[in-house]
Symmetry: D2
Amino acid sequence: MDNSFGSIFRITSFGESHGELVGIIIDGVPAGLEFDLKFIQREIDRRKPGQSHLTTPRLEEEQVKVLSGVFENKTTGAPLCLIIENKDIDSSVYEKYRNFLRPSHIDYTALRKYRGFSDPRGSGRFSGRITAGFVMAGAIAKQILKKYEIMIFAYTKSIGNIIDKREYSLKEIKKSFELREKSLIGAIDQEKSKSMELLIETVKKQRDSIGGTIKCIVINFPVGKGGPIFNSIESNISKAIFAIPAIKAIEFGAGFKAAKMKGSEHNDPWIIKDGKVQTTKNDAGGIIGGISTGMPIEFTVAVKPTASIGILQKTVNIETKKNVEIEFSGRHDPCIVPRVIPVIEAMIANVLLDILLLEGFIPRVLKS
Amino acid sequence: MDNSFGSIFRITSFGESHGELVGIIIDGVPAGLEFDLKFIQREIDRRKPGQSHLTTPRLEEEQVKVLSGVFENKTTGAPLCLIIENKDIDSSVYEKYRNFLRPSHIDYTALRKYRGFSDPRGSGRFSGRITAGFVMAGAIAKQILKKYEIMIFAYTKSIGNIIDKREYSLKEIKKSFELREKSLIGAIDQEKSKSMELLIETVKKQRDSIGGTIKCIVINFPVGKGGPIFNSIESNISKAIFAIPAIKAIEFGAGFKAAKMKGSEHNDPWIIKDGKVQTTKNDAGGIIGGISTGMPIEFTVAVKPTASIGILQKTVNIETKKNVEIEFSGRHDPCIVPRVIPVIEAMIANVLLDILLLEGFIPRVLKS
Amino acid sequence: MDNSFGSIFRITSFGESHGELVGIIIDGVPAGLEFDLKFIQREIDRRKPGQSHLTTPRLEEEQVKVLSGVFENKTTGAPLCLIIENKDIDSSVYEKYRNFLRPSHIDYTALRKYRGFSDPRGSGRFSGRITAGFVMAGAIAKQILKKYEIMIFAYTKSIGNIIDKREYSLKEIKKSFELREKSLIGAIDQEKSKSMELLIETVKKQRDSIGGTIKCIVINFPVGKGGPIFNSIESNISKAIFAIPAIKAIEFGAGFKAAKMKGSEHNDPWIIKDGKVQTTKNDAGGIIGGISTGMPIEFTVAVKPTASIGILQKTVNIETKKNVEIEFSGRHDPCIVPRVIPVIEAMIANVLLDILLLEGFIPRVLKS
Amino acid sequence: MDNSFGSIFRITSFGESHGELVGIIIDGVPAGLEFDLKFIQREIDRRKPGQSHLTTPRLEEEQVKVLSGVFENKTTGAPLCLIIENKDIDSSVYEKYRNFLRPSHIDYTALRKYRGFSDPRGSGRFSGRITAGFVMAGAIAKQILKKYEIMIFAYTKSIGNIIDKREYSLKEIKKSFELREKSLIGAIDQEKSKSMELLIETVKKQRDSIGGTIKCIVINFPVGKGGPIFNSIESNISKAIFAIPAIKAIEFGAGFKAAKMKGSEHNDPWIIKDGKVQTTKNDAGGIIGGISTGMPIEFTVAVKPTASIGILQKTVNIETKKNVEIEFSGRHDPCIVPRVIPVIEAMIANVLLDILLLEGFIPRVLKS
């Protein structure tokens, strides 16, 4: 249960950061999908480290391999097993700091839960690297959703205090895929991007780290899917999103801003436009009563600053039970935000595909 | 699946706003719990309408009844069925507006999902009234958690732009139960409370509504519970919380603020204090790597303004497919925040008890 | 989890034999089903006691009530709550034998599991009466399946050593609904029925009880549903069937006979008949590789003799920890087989509908 | 869902008969278990083909590899991934018979479910080879159960009409592990074993196959585990057992014999013996009301004869839609019973461990 998610399209995560591999089992993949390894690889490459001077230099190639579920280059309806092997591993660091609890890191909580048995190398199961599995599954889900014109787009909305406050129109979003490519950090606004990059460089020099926010927009998700109570789209998305390390908040549509608004401001008026029922604005984030409105699904998440920093910190030596000050070293991302973007997209793809399979909107065998 | 939540302590919601009743089945209740109907009633009374001039005047008594799972006033290990009957029902309003889509209301999404078959009276399954079931279950969960000294406290942090920014110490929280009682709207700070009440009165006069935020704190939750990936405490809490109508955002610990922070600011230093490993501050909100740190679990949610307002709004006549302007009438809460507080507490109780049962921390039969 | 079953069409059982009621929550009922209370009542009446001199004389009326999920006499997509109240209760017996473990009864296992907290009156949650909930859910499922021409028929195949060995053809089965009505004990063959009735009367006079077998046949279940591994139709059916008290065995198709057969005998030859792929015989019971073949699904279950008998038995006084001999009194069925028939049918309806909803074969909203 | 089983100890099966590998993900493995690859290998070797002249000659080595979840030779609490690679593959046969539906084989049902996309090589996901994953998981489960003295023993009870009718005492079972080793086909009684072997040789010469039954006994399973309704031990066991290809029936304790018995014969008298509550016989198979009695859990399953035989059979050419007669060739087991024994044991270990974890009887981290 702990490592599985979904009802029909069900992913099961396994592997460790410095073990042999990181992988994902994907059950419930509709049969008959053309297997596009290149696309999965491209998605993985978006997440992998070492893409710019702003990320951790772990330089391994992350080559996706498929171990099951594909025959004559099509999915068979059987579970897919997708893996990437771990190669560029340096586990020396953890030995050095074994007795010291890294602040805001999982050393202490893992110790208490697993009583010393969890794999500490590279944070083991708690590593961001585990999310590579989510991305591989998401790449499969995205391909299926694309057949139904459903597209998912996430971008860096803020790094520290530098915020891209603009509300992009649907048209602008569709043009933004390219703009995002040009940004080293997954932003749309190229000027903001430069400022954000500069900020990251600065904290990097300080051996510090910085947080940020990511906005995600889903286009063409059909109306009338999801449901009230525990089947709400927000419930399903949030459960999945908080499985990603470093996420500490999520808001749908106007989110926390809604808490400051009056009903007369917040309510999205219905309108007939192009013969379709729509809303004139989208403070609901495309979801009312847990059900999709047919407007874009929109949400924003907060990514905390990387806990690993190279600055003197107060902490505890768990062996001696003494308070100490210590400077941890080791490679890390000064800002994890850009690398979380494809993970957010992947997770939302996994969630939404599962909903559409459960509702019978997408069939269990794809039409050729 | 849609109406059930939890693994061992599993609640199943049923009933409609204007049907016969609203109820909850609670499976997995440990055997041997003294059944305290009065406490459940008290919790329900905290949520019920008509408690002050600031809430909707639906004036019915909400009397909790137990239909199964109790023998000689103790829980038996069998599923509990708890209900409240619906009495003060006026469904005339929905007839009047049947063809008009209330903005930010479930009329359109329900129509598209259920194709006209869903119960529209008083919003049926989408009504806030459904949460009475969550509260009854939560009252059971709270009693069990209390045996392990685990306490849950939520309060109104903001209404509109009036915000109680104070970070209360653990000591202060323990004293705040009484203060909250004194406030008409579930706030701690009595001065802020007055301003918030005034604001609600003002929007009420305007036939408008207003949103707000609720902060929830869990004290004495044991360290080392929860897990990484899909078993994270944040995943479980958020899935449950977004089952509550009107919630549009959640943040744990520093939440969105974390996105603006450097690692050196955000990291919570570990310290040995009173012989125990603790942190000097709690920006993590008591959860690292999805696992409890032993510090208080803290999160804040955004409640959107009530969608039902008595002001002229643009919308659509779904029968004629025409754009129209219309003023909806009918009783409603100008601000739902105070009544959501016990629902938040209840849901978190349900979630946390389930985690502790799954981990074997709390046994399936209570010691007498 | 303990009291719920199914993925989309999900039933949750509650209530006790001598408590206020026995009920069932049915989640995932497709919206738009005409609610036919009379049919549900008829199904319940098939299971209720006191129908002939061969069953227990508990003479209460079992009146089905619907508490939620129906609006304007159609299902709404919300969970249905169906109940029957308990009226003709006599719990004096359990008091009398409180310290004595009835052989092959749940006294000891319940004691050990719930440590004395379970409701002992009328066997509480362990009573056959709980299956009334399954029957009510099954009545809903049957109505939906019927729209797809899927019919379920179970009958008494044997009582004690009196066995109806005949393999009925599909045509004969279709005619057998009426024949079964004529039999006091749910048999098809009227002569065998008389012998079986006589046997039951004989054991009844001896204050003893007798077991039997029930065969169940599903007609028109579509080909290609179910799946290998844990989604096999056999897995799903058997899990559901063993939730019925007194069932101790199940076999599909040739079942245990298959263990004595050669492949050349057991294999069902494929044949094109009426333009359709069929098999010339059906030792597979309509399921190969966990998937439906399009032939009738056939299985047989063993029902053990009622544990409650009025004959001197050896057992233990659990308080004094002494071996004793004791004669239990109290009303009971000399043979529970006839009353289990509608329960089997109901359970299989619940299982098969869930499979067809999961595969998208039956939609979530029915066409009017 | 389709390929996963269990609540806490949760296995997820993947891989194909003639793909790269067959594997299993095991979530919920308690942390701190000494990882004993040799034991897992021994269990796999019990299932693998080519052990005697009576099984299929697929001669590959089946080498177990662990890919995740182990650190410093102990389980970490993370999911284990165990695999065996496929080497000795000959998929030429399926090409030859592509258009012919093998009788009682999955050709037709798989075709209808997956519409031609499923992997046909060596029966793909439907192959008995998939059960190697169950065996690897079971080997882990067995090791944990063994710490609590719980032992699982299955043996060949019958092949065709040759039946070992003896009811072995607990003492005899404990001595039977060695006897079973001596038998080529997993029987206890050495004379019966010889007759069974002869029978298998005979059908082999006839290019035919033969079915049989396996009896399984669980010793020292604690009293008071499991539950009524959907959590019954029978429900959980049967769901798991029917995931094994070729199983067509299961009976607990007296099983189908119970259907012929009177209550006075079938009821197991309680007795105080060695200071413990026991029964003088065990027709209940160690389970009453779905809950363990503390007596051995006993059940018997029917294994159908291998569908693959080398004899002329009537069937259909699915392309031409014509009835044909055809003789299929290809290597196969004349009797699969002996190789199913370790699979049964493994599955029951998986099920029972999950129950004991859910009840908190076995902790999530093992004591060192």
